[in-house]
């Protein structure tokens, strides 16, 4: 047996022994933290087992608690997990965004301090990037950090901080060089959320939900060891982390791909048939809707193949400017998928609350409204097109 075959067998055996039954069903994913909440006791067991093995972050170095797997081994692990429908043991911005950036830019001591905690889900991280005056023009940010003795003193305001009301720590872009040109006076700083100088206010969105907050810093403190990389050179880290964020978000573009393992019909087309009916040839009865859905499914498939191809091309090289392509296309696809769901369901997808609507229908309404943020967060679609024009196509500024 080849090494990879052996690895597959061992992985299969380990998952068989260690993945609790409840975690082999669809459901919510744990986000960890200092005071974690588990929707089922099995969730805690699963997190502990996977965290100990480093398989919450399979390709990260073992030295910092990661799984130390190669690209091929990780592919096998994901396949084996999918084969038993195992849920991810942990989800977090630490895994998707901060960790990869720390691995690239942090010192050995900083990695030792923060990465194992990300792997085991001990800290819930949130992201402090946007400010009220700095959205697409992120580098104009003005939250200040001034070194006083061994500590930074932070003053200012962040916005669109996801789940800041649950987070233990924030990775934050702060201005440390107010006299420098805007890209050259920014630093990347880690700040504890649990202190008197930090105040959090949830923002109510058009969906009625509040996944984002405003975060206010009034003389908040962070030890100087929490500055990652070189002072005033945080913009490089910021951009790199954005690529990770964009790759993470783009996955949502795959939404309509599968209608279940045994069905050729996408979930979207199934929904179309459920609400618009089928004709005598088992075609979706509304032929215009059918065409739109098929077009969407085709694009979704081409997009899935593109993510796969880019992954193969980069192997373990990490995301590049191509992350902008996938962020742009993935979010636009997700938005159009929800628009098509609304079109298929008619007024059934336009309820806000009450008996006439099923829980699933009400969820679709709220999720549709949530998708409107997809082409804004992590850099708007227009910003992604700018990145492609300038960084990939090398089109000039003047």
């Amino acid at each position: 047996m080849s090494t990879l075959q052996t690895f597959r067998q061992e992985t299969r055996d380990w998952l068989e022994t260690n993945c609790p039954p409840e975690m082999r069903k669809p459901g919510d994913v744990c986000w960890g933290g200092r005071n974690p909440s588990f929707s089922h006791p099995d969730q805690e067991i699963w997190l502990e087992k996977m965290g100990d093995k480093g398989w919450t972050c399979p390709t990260w170095p073992k030295e910092y608690g990661g799984g130390g797997l190669t690209y091929e081994e990780n592919k096998i692990l994901q396949e084996e997990m999918a084969a038993i429908s195992a849920r991810p043991a942990l989800g977090s911005f630490g895994i998707w965004m901060l960790g990869p950036a720390l691995l690239e830019f942090a010192s050995h001591e900083q990695k030792l301090e923060h990465i194992p905690n990300i792997v085991k889900g001990k800290i819930w991280w949130c992201q402090g990037y946007s400010e009220p005056g700095s959205g697409s023009d992120l580098a104009s940010l003005s939250t200040k950090a001034i070194l006083e003795g061994d500590e930074y003193l932070i003053n200012g305001q962040k916005i669109w901080t996801s789940n800041a009301n649950y987070a233990d720590m924030i990775f934050c872009l702060v201005r440390t060089g107010p006299q420098e040109p805007k890209h050259e006076g920014i630093s990347f700083l880690l700040i504890d959320m649990n202190q008197p100088g930090v105040e959090v206010k949830p923002i109510k969105l058009i969906s009625g939900k509040s996944p984002f907050c405003e975060t206010f810093f009034t003389d908040a403190k962070a030890p100087k060891e929490n500055l990652i990389g070189t002072i005033n050179e945080g913009w490089t880290i910021a951009k790199r982390l954005l690529q990770h964020e964009r790759s993470m978000i783009s996955g949502m573009g795959l939404g309509s791909g599968s209608g279940g393992p045994k069905s050729k019909t996408s979930a979207l087309a199934q929904l179309g048939k459920k609400y618009a009916g089928s004709d005598s040839e088992n075609k979706l009865a509304d032929s215009i809707l059918r065409t739109k859905i098929a077009k969407h499914d085709l694009n979704s498939r081409a997009f899935g193949l593109t993510l796969q191809r880019m992954g193969e091309e980069m192997k373990s090289g990490g995301p590049s400017a191509t992350a902008s392509i996938s962020k742009y296309y993935g979010t636009e696809q997700n938005i159009s998928r929800y628009e098509l769901m609304l079109e298929a369901m008619g007024i059934s997808a336009l309820g806000w609350k009450g008996e006439p609507f099923s829980a699933e229908e009400l969820a679709i309404t709220r999720d549709w409204l949530r998708t409107k943020g997809n082409s804004i967060e992590g850099g708007t679609s227009e910003v992604q097109l700018n990145v492609i024009s300038k960084r990939v196509l090398n089109l000039p500024d003047k």
Binding site: S263, K264, T265, S266, A269, Q270, G272, K273, S278, N282, K283, L284, R290, T291, I293, A294, K295, D297, L298, N299, R301, A302, F303, L305, T306, Q308, R309, E312, E313, T322, I325, Y328, Y329, E382, Q384, L385, N386, I388, S389, K390, V392, L393, N394, L395, P396, D397, K398
Partner: protein, 379 residues
């Protein structure tokens, strides 16, 4: 499955690029058009292509081919799309060779395949009878008379029909128009009595024709595959043809885009290069994104043929849909972004627009494939 070319396939593609840029650049195509060449392609260039092994890529080694598969041929077709070179590569090396490989009996394989490999025999597939692709819309009738068949009817849009040595004809031997059962394939020599071939001069200056059959007599040895059961072979070959054509279309779209991008970087107006204007930048970025998606769809489909995937039909529709949409978009934008010079005959960019529309129609437009994909997905 892997979506990357292996070393051998990449080598083939690189060789093709080098050969075509040198021996058959776009000026080669322009000369053929302007000289009103009878054949519509250069026999000399075709001979060289065959020497490079391109004619036998899908043909098994027993008959002199290399059996490199669609991933091998796809890379070459993509490069031919870049220079718009007309050649029998599609009609003969892909379509004709596939028909004979998949459905031919031993005698037919021995007779035709080695000659295809050497570049000495070209084929054309006579299928369509109307202006829009419809593979079951066949009323050309082959009536059995003793041990032979008498064919009457008319075919349209037969690619390479005026120059091919041998025709592969889909005729009805049973059933009604639009039935998939009752269709039979015949291999017929172009000089057979009763055949009239009229060259159709298409907008893309490539090679197509209309063929009339008047009491064309062929014997039963001319049947390719089984009587009345030609449709399943046609389906399989059409899948391959759609996928191979998508490779070529991808190449044309990439070339039109590269040329446009160059132009955006050099053309100045209002004191700046026009590529600095966001109105054009975003459209260029969208085209680039669509090209990336098209590459993935095409390579996924090429791979599906080589791996004998049971999802080949949906992959073929995916590739042809995406290639059609993207080439349509890019060829339009290319002309628009070139401004006035884009609509002159002297400038090459218009060739891509003309080729786009014809290629979109060959073996099913994007609309056709949207419908087919939905059908195959059971909705």
């Amino acid at each position: 499955m892997s979506l990357l070319l292996n070393e051998e396939q990449q080598f083939l593609k690189d060789t093709a690029k080098e050969f075509l840029q040198k021996n058959a650049p776009i000026s080669h195509f322009r000369n053929l058009r302007d000289s009103k060449d009878e054949t519509g392609y250069s026999k000399e260039v075709w001979k060289q292509m065959a020497e490079l092994g391109w004619a036998g890529i899908l043909i098994s080694e027993d008959y002199g081919g290399s059996n490199f598969g669609m991933m091998g041929l796809g890379g070459i077709l993509e490069e031919t799309g870049r220079t718009l070179v007309p050649s029998p590569l599609f009609s003969t090396a892909l379509v004709g060779a596939s028909f004979i490989e998949l459905a031919g009996n031993e005698n037919q394989k021995k007779e035709f395949l080695p000659k295809i490999v050497s570049g000495d025999l070209t084929t054309a597939f006579a299928l369509e009878e109307g202006p829009r692709h419809s593979p079951t819309n066949i009323s050309t009738l082959a009536k059995k008379e003793g041990k032979s068949f008498k064919i009457n009817g008319q075919k349209t849009f037969v690619l390479d029909g005026h120059s091919a040595d041998t025709l592969i004809v889909a005729a009805r031997t049973n059933g009604e128009i639009n039935d998939s059962v009752g269709i039979t394939l015949f291999i017929i020599d172009k000089d057979t009595k009763g055949l009239t071939v009229n060259r159709a001069h298409m907008v893309d200056s490539r090679n197509a024709s209309e063929i009339k059959f008047k009491d064309v007599e062929v014997n039963e040895n001319s049947i390719l595959g089984d009587l009345n059961a030609g449709y399943s072979v046609i389906e399989e070959v059409l899948d391959r043809a759609q996928i191979g054509l998508s490779s070529e279309m991808l190449g044309s779209a990439l070339e039109a885009f590269d040329r446009t991008l160059e132009y955006l970087k050099e053309r100045k107006q209002f004191g700046s290069v026009i590529g600095s204007f966001q109105a054009l930048q975003h459209r260029a970025a969208i085209m680039f994104t669509e090209l990336e998606l098209t590459k993935s769809a095409v390579v996924g489909a090429l791979n599906a043929v080589d791996e004998n995937s049971n999802d080949r039909g949906r992959f073929a529709s995916l590739a042809k849909f995406k290639a059609g949409e993207t080439l349509h978009l890019v060829s339009n934008e290319a002309v628009q972004m070139h401004g006035g010079i884009g609509v002159t005959d002297e400038f090459d960019i218009g060739f891509f627009l003309k080729r786009s529309r014809v290629a979109e129609q060959i073996f099913g437009s994007s609309d056709y494939h949207i419908d087919k994909y939905a059908k195959l997905s059971e909705y």
